[in-house]
Each structure stands twice: as C-alpha cells, then as structure tokens.
C-alpha cells in the first residue's frame, strides 16, 4: 500500500550526531494502529480460545483462572472478536479512502504496484528465492511486498472469513439454527478451532520467523510499530522498491525523523510481551497436541 506523504522532507545525509536519523516510512499511522489492535485482539482470541480447545490440559485451567474464569474468558473472546472485525472493516474502508484520495481505479488498486494481490512477479520471486535457498542463484531483489508478506496478508482475509463466520455461528447458535441443522454447530466448532489453531501456529512460528527471528533481523523488527525503517535496510530488503523510488526521485517524500529511543524502547517492550505470549502459546499447543492429546 502506498504510504503517507512525509510532511517535512529532510536531507538524507545529515550528520547522525546533530540531527535525529531520518528513516524510510513504510506504514501509515492507521496501519500501525490497526496492527497493534490486531495483535492485542489476536492474542486475546488465541489465549481464551485455546483454553477451551485444550481444556484437558492443566495449563488451560490455570490460564482460564487467571483470566477470571470461563465466563470472563468468553467475554474477552467476544470483545476481541469485535475488535478484530473492527480492524478488518476499518482496513477495507481505508482501502476505499486510499482509492478516492489517489484517484485510483479499482483495477489499479488491486493490480497496481503497491497492491498486495499476488502477481507474476511474486511467482518469479518465489522461484528465485527457492533457487537462492539451495544456492542456485542470487537473492531476488524484492519489491515493496514480498510473496510471504502477501501470503500473511491474505491469510488474515481467509482467517477472518472462516473463523469469523463460524465464530458468529457459535456465538448465536439459536439464530443460526433457524437456517442450518444443529449438527453444523459441531462442524463449525471444529472448523473454528482448527483454523484458529492454524492461524495461531502459523503466526507464532512462520510469521515470527519471517519477520523477527530471521538471524539478520533478530530479535525483532519494529517497523510495523514505528512505521519507519532505516534506509539501509530498505536498500537491502526491498532493493526493487528503493530503486523505483530513486528512479522516481520521490524517495525523499518518504523519509521522516526516527522516533526517539524512549518510544522505540516502549515499542520493544510491547513487542517482547507479544512475542512471549506467542511463544508460550506455541509451546502450550505443542504440549497439548503432542503430549497431552485426548
């Protein structure tokens, strides 16, 4: 997605010691807020939901107790679900606003260069990446969105659709059984919880690795919270985008002052907390699925 236009363009090579570092802006404020909201919502949904799915483990009872008992957990789960729907809808509305602001056609919104919809270039990059992995070629010059980022993005769409719809069915069973048989509630339960398990497992392992735990990013990448990334990193990670911006001569429009250390430190603390919850959850899932399965 195209990002906000920086208000105060500043020279790139200002000395570090005098002026704050200027960084490339990758995410808008709304996008960052939405991601934080989604993290909170997702962690809440995952924790409360998994206590139910793995109710046979001792851990589930402990977590359930910590969260104020099952009734309270239910409320948290439903409130977080509302937040998640809110995030999703807000994002869709934001896309429409973007289209209006940028005077884009639907086609260019979906298929344009900033779009997250996978295209032929992604297929080439996927093949190039696999070759790079096995040493048959160089690292592809990724653009603004890599194919795995696009996968993560659309996984959320898929998850919202599948988990959201089954979740609503389970939330309002009396209403929905006017249209569907009661036994579909059983099916919905399995789909809801297994899809949630997939989402949780995927986010807390593959997504975490791709974004944070890759040795060159270790231990975390806070770009999604600050919205900014060092220009060096842009050059390295997204060379195609960097080159396009340089070619356009619009790179400077996307540069902004870095946040002071206090902000980044706060963000890191939040990031650590989210990572900790995520990893604990992964351990718990592994324990519940492999060692305590019933």
């Amino acid at each position: 997605m195209p990002s906000e236009v920086p208000e105060k363009p500043a020279p790139l090579n200002t000395p570090r010691s005098e002026d704050p570092e200027r960084q490339f802006v990758r995410f808008t404020r709304l996008q960052r807020i939405l991601h934080i909201c989604m993290i909170c919502s997702f962690l809440s949904l995952a924790t409360t939901g998994l206590t139910l799915k793995f109710s046979y483990t001792r851990w589930a009872s402990v977590v359930s107790h910590l969260l104020g008992g099952f009734e309270s957990e239910g409320n948290i789960h439903r409130a977080a679900a509302v937040v998640m729907f809110g995030v999703f809808i807000t994002h869709l509305v934001d896309l429409v606003r973007l289209k209006k602001r940028e005077h884009l056609s639907w086609r260019s919104l979906v298929l344009g260069p900033g779009s997250l919809v996978p295209n032929g270039q992604d297929l080439k990059e996927l093949i190039g990446t696999l070759k790079w992995f096995v040493g048959l070629g160089p690292r592809p010059a990724y653009g603004r969105w890599t194919y795995w980022e696009k996968f993560d993005y659309f996984a959320v769409f898929w998850g919202i659709a599948v988990i959201g719809s089954t979740g609503l069915t389970l939330w309002f069973p009396v209403f929905f059984t006017r249209f569907i048989p009661g036994s579909f509630l059983n099916v919905a339960t399995i789909v809801h919880s297994d899809e949630a398990l997939l989402a949780t497992g995927f986010i807390f392992t593959v997504h975490f690795f791709n974004t944070h735990l890759r040795p060159e990013k270790f231990p975390m990448d806070i770009t999604v919270f600050t919205g900014r990334m060092p220009l060096e990193e842009l050059k390295r990670d997204k060379p195609r985008e960097y080159e396009a911006l340089v070619a356009d001569g619009t790179l400077e429009e996307h540069m902004e002052e870095a946040y002071p250390p206090i902000v980044t430190r706060t963000i890191r603390i939040f990031g650590w907390a989210a990572l900790a919850v995520g990893f604990s959850t992964v351990l718990w899932i592994i324990y519940a699925v492999i060692f305590a399965y019933q």
Binding site: F133, P173, T177, S183
Partner: protein
C-alpha cells in the same frame, strides 16, 4: 269268695317269690364267669403271687412277684391283669415276657402331653435315665392322686421327682440342668415347708409349677415355667398377687405384658422362694446405703460402684419409678448384701424385648455375642443410670449428639475405625462437612444422622442384604426423608424395576456419596457429576468432554449443561422413552432451559459428537481430518520454507557484520550501518 281271694293272694306271693328266685338265680349265673377268676388275677397270681418267683434276663435275676393284695386295692384292680397286659390274654403258661404296658391306650391325653415333654422325648431318644409312666406312678399299686397311698400324692411328689433330681443322682450329675440342689432348696422354701413340714396338701409341689406330664425346659415357649407363662403359672394360686406388686410392677402390665416385665423368678428365685418381705431389699434407698458412697469401689477391679441417685432419678427410668432391682434383677433380698447374688450384667431386653432382638442381629450384637471387647452394648450408647429419652437434648442419643456418639468408636484412629477395611474413611469429618452434618450443626434435628441411615439398633454392614445401607435398600432408606425423589428414582432407568438390568445399578450414594453428601447446587458437585456418571457411562462421558459443554465444564464453568441438565437427575430415562427429557417431544424444551428460543433443529446439535467415530458422526470426522490436513499441509510448506531460509539468513547476518566491521575500520561506506540491529 273269701277262699277265692286267699287263693289269689297265695298265687301272687308265689309268683313274686319265683320272680325273686329267678332274678337271683339269673344274677348268680351272670356273675359266675367273673367270679371264676376271683380274686383279681388269681389265675396269674398262682405263679406271680409267689415271692420267690423270678427269672433271668440278660444275666440278671428279675423278680416276677406281684403283690396281689395291693393290686386288689388299686384303681386298676377291676380290669384284671390282662386289662393292661392285653397281649397275654388267652396265652398258655408259661408265657413269654409281656410287651411294655401302654398306659396311653386309656390315658391318651396324658400320653400326648408326655410324648411332647422333656421326659417323653428323652425316652423316644432311648435315654436310659428318662422316666416313663411307671417310674413315677408305680406299676401294680396305682391309686388316685388324692389317695395318700398314691406314689404321686402331693406329699410324695418331691420325692418322686427327687429320685432323679436330687443332688448326686445320675441325672443331676450328667444332665444339663441350670438349677442345683433343687430338692434341698425346695424343701427349705416356703412351698416345701408348707407341704413337707406342715402337711399342707394344697401347697405347690414340683408338678404344680412344672405340670405333671407336660414338663418342658423353661426356654420352650410352651413350658409352664417359660418367662411368658410363669406369671400365669404362679397366679393359679397367687391370683391376687399383682395388687401387692403394684409398687414395683403395674398390675395390669404384669398380666398383659408379662414378657416385658420382670418375671416372678427374677425376684423369687426358682425353688428357693422364701417367706420374706421382698420389697424391703429392693427399695432404691437400700441400694443407696452403700452406692451413694462416692468412694465405693468393686474389690475385683477397683471400678467405681458409686451411683448418682440424682442422675438416676432424673433418667427416663427414674421418672417412671423403675427401681434399681428391676434392672439389677438378680438381687436377693434375703441377703445382707442383696447384690451379692448378682452374676450377670443388666439385661435391658427383659423390658426392651423387640429392640433386644434387633440388636442381637446387628453387627454390634453379633460381635458382642462373640465376646468382642470392642462391641458396644446398650450402655455404651445409652449410658447406665442416667439414661435419657432421645428427645432430651442432654441425651447422647439426641439427634444432634448422635454423630459424636458414634464418633467415639468410628472416628479415624478409634477402635472401630482401625478395624474397618471398607472404602469409607474420615466418616465423621466427612459427615460433619456434608449437607446433613451442616444442617445438624445448625440445629435441624430432623436431618439425617448416623442412625437415620444405619438405623439405631439394626446396624449391619453394607454387604448384608438386610442392612439399611445395602445397595438394594438404600433408595428406601434415603426415601424415608427424600420421598419424592425416591419415587422419581424408582421410575427411572436406574431402577431395577424399570430396567430389569441384572448388574448392579447406581443408587443414591453412588452419585451423592455416603458420608460427604454435598448440596447439588455446589460447584464441587456440579463439576464432579460427569466423572460420577462416567464411572459407568465411560464412553459417553468422554465424548461429552469433546463438545462445548464438556470443555467449558472442565474449565470450571458450572452453568454449562451437565449430564443431569439434559438427561434428568433422578428421572433419567432412555432417550427413546417418550417421557424422557430428550425424547422428540421434550428435547427442545430441555434445550430452552438454557438456550431461550431453541428449536428442534437447534437440538440437532450433537452433544456427544466425537471425531473418532466416522460411522456415527461422519461430518465431524471428515471435517476434523480435512482441517488437520490443511493444518499439516500449511505447516509443512511453511516449515520447509523457513528451514531452507535459515542457512541463507545466517549467511546474510555474517556478511552484514563483516560490512559493519569494515565500516568501523574507516573504510568509506555510502550508507549507514544497521544501527537498530546493532543496538539490539
């Protein structure tokens, strides 16, 4: 005419004379054959009248002499010898040994009584010492009982009986007879004195009390000296006796309920009955002469013999005016220390007969019968002199005090608890914390205590079919209070009457436990009930935990539907039963208890669905495996991608570090270092 009259008179006299002669002659003729054998048995006495007439039987010389004079005066004289020795009628001499005379041929009533008596049965057994008719009545010289010559005349009876029942005789030595020195005691008793020393023929002899022919042991209910009959026997003579016993025994009870009161021999010992003022020695005041002393101790073991008369007089017995001697019935007023004749402890069953029988069949009674020192007797629970009515809050048997009473032995570590090998432990503390115990602590005396379920006197182990806590009897026992629930239960599938199922079915305590029964609206009960039902319904309980209701219940949520919310608690029925809460007609209403507006279609939710059963739940099964496939596929692709990436990523990191190091060595570098990364 005159001559004619005279002639007629002469003729009449002649006829009369002739008639007299004929009559006399006829009489003579008719008497003649009898007279021919006169004197009685003369024909027999020709031989048997000889005192030296004898024979040898089994190597012994037996006299065959019969005293003809005595026989001639006996009551049987007119029947002659063959009247009794009927088998010798018309026999040639010398005849064989005659058969044993059957007195019962004529004396059939006496014979019948005798046959059932102790003596008659002993004879039938072939007991050589057992007396037959002749042992008491003699043989040829039999006289009416009132005749002083009779062997069984009143004055002779004690000696007739004494032949066998006096000290030193084979009978007294070899037979189990509870009484000793019978004849000696009798002759010194008021009865014996009157008869033997004063010649009072109406004084009671042995036969007066024991009867002549129907002699039975006192343990036989038909015996004249049985506890229940002795009063009737004594009152044959002492018909107004109850009026003088009124102070001790209320007259009307004495006759109507002789079995629940002390019987005559309890105070007036058999055979020893003396002419003394019995009441004297039995008044409480006399006992208290010694027993009011707080320091009084028994010589044998130093046990305190102090009796708190205040306590005793306020006891349930004291209030009814029951005297010491009515319980301590072996006292003998003729002694200086009336209590020295006491050999046994107090027998409460002499009044509390029915309870005594129940107790004897209970496990306490059975152990007591085996002389088990741990077995509680009446006094262990009820106390001794200070026994109070169970309605009295001070009584140990008052409802609120019962658990503490039983706890004396059944609390963990106490003598009954250490012997116990069953499954129930911490009985007392569990009970105290149970709903029944809590209610009792709050003073609700009608709640269940130990005795409500186990009964007070008929306590039996659970394994005994007669036990109130035997599985078959538990519903009835609980139903004493929980009647409505028992009715529901008896109509449920868990009742054998309904299911006709042979194997053990659950009863109240299987779900509610025995001693730690909790309110069913307590969370602990609600959350444990699935495990409880699951003890039998193992599979179905497991599948319950795979669905929403089960999962949230396991997390401690008590509002989710439990087994009984859908199936009913006590009125569980097969789901195919139209009356079941889950029948087609009722299931929607059952769901609506929690899910307002639930429809039949809503009730189609599979509350026991499992993804392990493709036949029963194909949708669930295939959805589960479909989702699992999706999960595995995604993780495998994602995982491989990540693993392949890892070496390259490390390589990149190394290159970055190298570049960074190069930059710091002063090598000009266009861009900035990845400061963020470096910081981290």
């Amino acid at each position: 005419m005159a001559e004619t009259k005279i002639a007629r008179r002469k003729w009449r006299l002649g006829v009369a004379f002739a008639a007299i002669l004929i009559t006399l002659f006829t009489l003579r003729i008719s008497e003649r054959p009898v007279r021919a054998a006169d004197p009685p048995g003369a024909e027999c006495l020709a031989c048997h009248g000889d005192k030296t007439f004898n024979t040898t039987r089994a190597g012994k010389t037996v006299s065959l002499y019969v005293d003809g004079k005595k026989f001639a005066t006996s009551i049987h004289a007119s029947f002659g010898c063959t009247g009794c020795h009927a088998d010798l009628e018309g026999k040639d001499f010398p005849h064989d040994k005659p058969a044993r005379v059957k007195c019962g041929t004529c004396h059939s009533d006496e014979q019948a009584l005798y046959s059932k008596s102790l003596h008659g049965k002993a004879v039938a057994r072939g007991d050589a010492l057992a007396p037959s008719c002749v042992n008491c009545h003699g043989n040829h010289a039999i006289y009416p009982v009132k005749d002083p010559r009779s062997a069984v005349a009143p004055l002779k009876v004690p000696f007739v009986c004494g032949q066998c029942h006096s000290e030193g005789t084979p009978v007294s030595r070899t037979r189990q007879i509870a009484q000793d020195n019978i004849l000696g005691n009798y002759s010194e008793s008021i009865h014996g004195e009157a008869l033997l020393k004063k010649g009072l023929a109406v004084a009671p002899t042995c036969a007066t009390c024991h009867t002549a022919h129907s002699i039975l042991p006192h343990t036989d209910p038909a015996s004249s000296i049985n506890r229940k009959n002795i009063a009737a026997t004594c009152t044959k003579c002492h018909s107004q006796i109850e009026s003088v016993h009124r102070k001790i025994i209320r007259g009307e009870l004495w006759e109507k309920q002789a079995n629940v009161l002390p019987a005559c021999p309890d105070c007036h010992q058999p055979h020893k009955i003396r002419n003394v003022f019995y009441e004297m020695g039995m008044a409480n005041a006399d006992c208290m002469r010694c027993h009011a002393n707080e320091k009084l101790r028994r010589a044998r073991d130093g046990k305190s013999m102090f009796v708190n008369i205040d306590e005793a007089s306020h006891s349930v017995h004291g209030k009814k005016g029951i005297a010491c001697s009515q319980c301590h019935s072996e006292v003998n007023a003729s002694r200086v220390r009336p209590c020295e004749t006491i050999t046994k402890g107090v027998d409460c069953t002499s009044c509390h007969d029915e309870i005594g029988k129940l107790y004897a069949t209970s496990i306490h009674g059975q152990l007591n019968a085996k002389n088990d020192s741990n077995a509680p007797t009446c006094k262990e629970c009820h106390g001794t002199h200070g026994i109070l009515n169970k309605q009295d809050p001070q009584s140990p048997t008052f409802a609120v005090n019962v658990p503490n009473l039983c706890a004396r032995c059944h609390r963990e570590g106490q003598k009954a608890a250490v012997r116990y090998t069953g499954t129930q432990h911490e009985i007392i503390s569990n009970y105290t914390e149970s709903i029944h115990g809590t209610l009792l602590k709050n003073g609700l005396t009608v709640t269940a205590t130990c005795t409500s379920c186990h009964s007070a006197h008929h306590i039996l182990p659970r394994s005994d079919p007669a036990s109130t806590v035997n599985a078959n009897n538990v519903p009835n026992t609980c139903g004493q209070c929980h009647h409505g629930i028992e009715e529901q239960f008896e109509n449920s599938i868990h009742s054998k009457k309904v299911s006709g199922y042979g194997k053990p079915l659950p009863v109240c305590n299987d779900c509610h436990t025995a001693h730690s029964i909790h309110r069913t609206d307590e969370n602990s009960f609600k959350l444990n009930v699935m495990g409880t039902c699951g003890r039998c319904h193992e599979k179905i309980a497991e599948t319950y935990f795979e669905t929403y209701h089960g999962k949230v219940s396991r997390l401690g949520y008590t509002k989710a539907a439990k087994c009984y919310d859908c199936h009913g608690a006590h009125d569980v029925l097969k789901v195919t039963d139209p009356r079941s809460h889950l029948s087609r007609a009722n299931v929607a209403a059952t769901c609506q208890k929690c899910h307002a507006g639930a429809t039949r279609r809503f009730a189609g939710y599979l509350t026991h669905a499992t993804h392990h059963d493709p036949k029963k739940y194909p949708f669930v099964f295939y959805t589960f495996w479909g989702m699992t496939g999706l999960l595995l596929g995604t993780f495998v692709v994602g995982g491989i991608h990540t693993l392949l990436w890892l070496p390259r990523a490390f390589q990149m990191r190394r290159e970055l570090k190298a570049a960074e190091a190069a930059a710091e060595n002063g090598e000009p570098h266009a861009g900035k270092d990845t400061k963020e990364d470096g910081d981290a």
